[in-house]
Symmetry: C2
Subunit: 377 residues, 2 copies
């Protein structure tokens, strides 16, 4: 076993006990709701984490890129949803995966894309299964809930040679909320949009076995999930400061951090400089629009205990500037050149993506493993 | 030769003609100033780009991580400055590179770090060469120009067994300017801080052969560089929207773009959705504080010609939302599902870092090569 002090910096540290607690929490919450968890693996991009969160080594799971689908398929996953509306030129890569025995489902929200999938399905004599994306909160892609376009897309798929497998939606607007009532409301809005859309398809004699919803906030705040068959959520495995700001977790639940080393000071200004810049933290400033802005992250000691009000106030590529939050009554901790800190990230998906490995620590902050991450498309 | 249409998306496209024009421009500017260019390779992280910009295959060059130093050393570079104040635990990696014949220089801005380098130098019987960082604009690290601390650090290095090689500064605050007068002023402030600091060292009988300054804005706006021996600049090889906003380049000079594919529309809202989200563009919102905010980037057609006022207004991990800038009188272009666009980035260093390869295009936008990038620490 290694100590954290023996590692070079900056590096990405994953507290596996916290991760397991986070996973157990959502699984316990969903268990009585009669829905399956199809975790979004865009957050970890790591087979060891995937196996911790999936209900079986084959899945199910959600991915955000075909590279994720390919990488996880190589590790034995067989039930995958590629959760981004398909660009037609990617269909040959989809077919290659399906020919290897992966039940890879796609998403469309337009007649054009449905036609492309249907055409490709016919050409390859493989009815590619598709979910129609529903826009449950106006934040991004998807067709209007329960709209006529749904049946048009469904028929285009079914009559053209593809397979309609159901509907999916993602209440991304939940990231902009921070009180339980609003979160309960948006979770119900997400559920309702998906279930009503499924009903429209079924009334039109179209198949809709899957009703898929999910975001980390709505998965944790939904009062019930009647009519839903599966929940997609991703960032809950690690949590982050944005999720804490929303109210889905506490700071103590955040499993991911970036370890950095103090490289200097500007004492008159109350600044501590580290080698943890935006390249290791990411440029994500997700807490900037929340009620408590953590800059580029909340600074903890090497054991992961936060220093009160110490945040990363600024970052350049390989420099992080630590300072007390404006108005803080706390004193700057004594952190000499060479001291280690751990920084809790605004957004685990973005921060993780800057690294190619997790340093896995246990309860006692001993390094017990290195797990690889992948990136790219 | 491949066409851009034959590539999968999102991917990183580098217009090599624009890059060469940008490099030639800065070299022509510096030639009469009697200074050497020590380009910062943190932007490209690519040996082919490094060779285009360096004066010789051995360097000189600047790096922001020891990984960059190691990767470039493997490709034959021998004259390197690691431009971030050294964390003492990294010194064994520094020594390993120096033992391979790399003249790797370090930076310190404190007695503590100077002591650590001196101690390690003595232990390894290798006088590690060091530049003292000067804080020329109050934006980050460095000692006050011409301060007494300079000679203290210099003596700590020299008497302790390390080698003082000079001073360096980076006027990072130039990124916050946008008029020529202010840029000329900050360039002169940067030059003056470095030259005055060198004089202080020399008066104290300390060696100071190198006087190193540089940022892309100041390198392009300095009226003269008397007393300076070398200029470090990095992002000028590619340029980006932030540099255009500062006034260092035109949009037409930006050599880097992310190619993405249209995956859907929200027609009532005037939105076009693509597969180019923040994972491919980076989370950098550098133009948010400039007079023209480009969201996550300026949208061009596949040949790199900007659509008037079409920007990436929002981004999630693998989705980009394109829309006309508020108040625009231009119509949304017709971009059906499957259409390709190229997005000029806010910040080339951050966007490049999200990719592991450059797709190299010539004047006619034919793909003539793939150049690899590396990442990590």
């Amino acid at each position: 076993m290694l100590s954290l002090e023996s590692l070079d910096t900056p590096c990405l540290v994953l507290d596996v006990s916290r991760m397991r607690r986070n996973i157990a929490r959502l699984k316990a919450r969903l268990a009585p709701m009669n829905v399956q968890l199809r975790p979004h693996l865009k957050t970890p991009k790591c087979i060891e984490v995937a196996r911790e969160v999936m209900q079986s080594p084959q899945g199910p799971a959600t991915v955000s890129t075909l590279k994720e689908a390919e990488q996880f398929a190589e590790q034995g996953l067989r039930d995958l949803l590629y959760g981004v509306c398909i660009a037609p030129h990617k269909l040959p890569r989809v077919s290659a995966l399906r020919q290897r025995g992966v039940d890879l489902m796609l998403v469309v929200d337009s007649i054009e894309a449905a036609q492309a999938v249907a055409h490709h399905s016919k050409q390859t004599r493989d009815a590619i299964p598709v979910l129609i994306e529903i826009d449950s909160d106006g934040h991004r892609s998807g067709v209007q809930p329960a709209s006529g376009l749904l049946t048009e897309i469904g028929r285009t798929l079914m009559h053209g040679g593809a397979a309609l497998r159901g509907v999916m939606t993602h209440a991304g607007d939940s990231y902009n909320k921070n009180d339980p009532k609003a979160l309960i409301h948006i979770a119900e809005q997400e559920r309702d949009a998906a279930v009503r859309s499924a009903e429209v398809l079924r009334k039109a004699q179209l198949p809709c076995p899957i009703v898929s919803v999910g975001s980390t906030p709505t998965a944790h705040f939904a009062r019930h999930l009647d009519g839903v068959t599966e929940v997609r959520a991703g960032v809950f495995v690690f949590f982050d400061l944005v999720q804490a700001g929303i109210g889905v977790c506490q700071t103590e639940d955040i499993a991911l951090s970036v370890m950095a080393t103090v490289i200097g000071h500007q004492k008159e200004k109350g600044w501590i400089l580290t080698d943890g810049g935006w390249m290791s933290l990411s440029r994500d400033r997700g807490t900037a629009k929340q009620s408590v802005d953590f800059g580029y992250g909340l600074v903890c000691d090497i054991n992961g205990i936060p220093y009160p009000d110490l945040i990363v106030t600024d970052a350049s590529q390989e420099h992080g500037t630590l300072a007390q939050r404006a108005g803080s009554s706390h004193q700057l901790p004594h952190l000499p050149v060479g001291a280690r800190v751990r920084i809790l990230p605004n957004h685990a998906c973005a921060t993780g993506a800057q690294h190619d490995q997790y340093q896995i620590v246990d309860n006692s902050n001993a390094v017990i493993a290195h797990w690889n991450r992948f990136s790219g498309w």
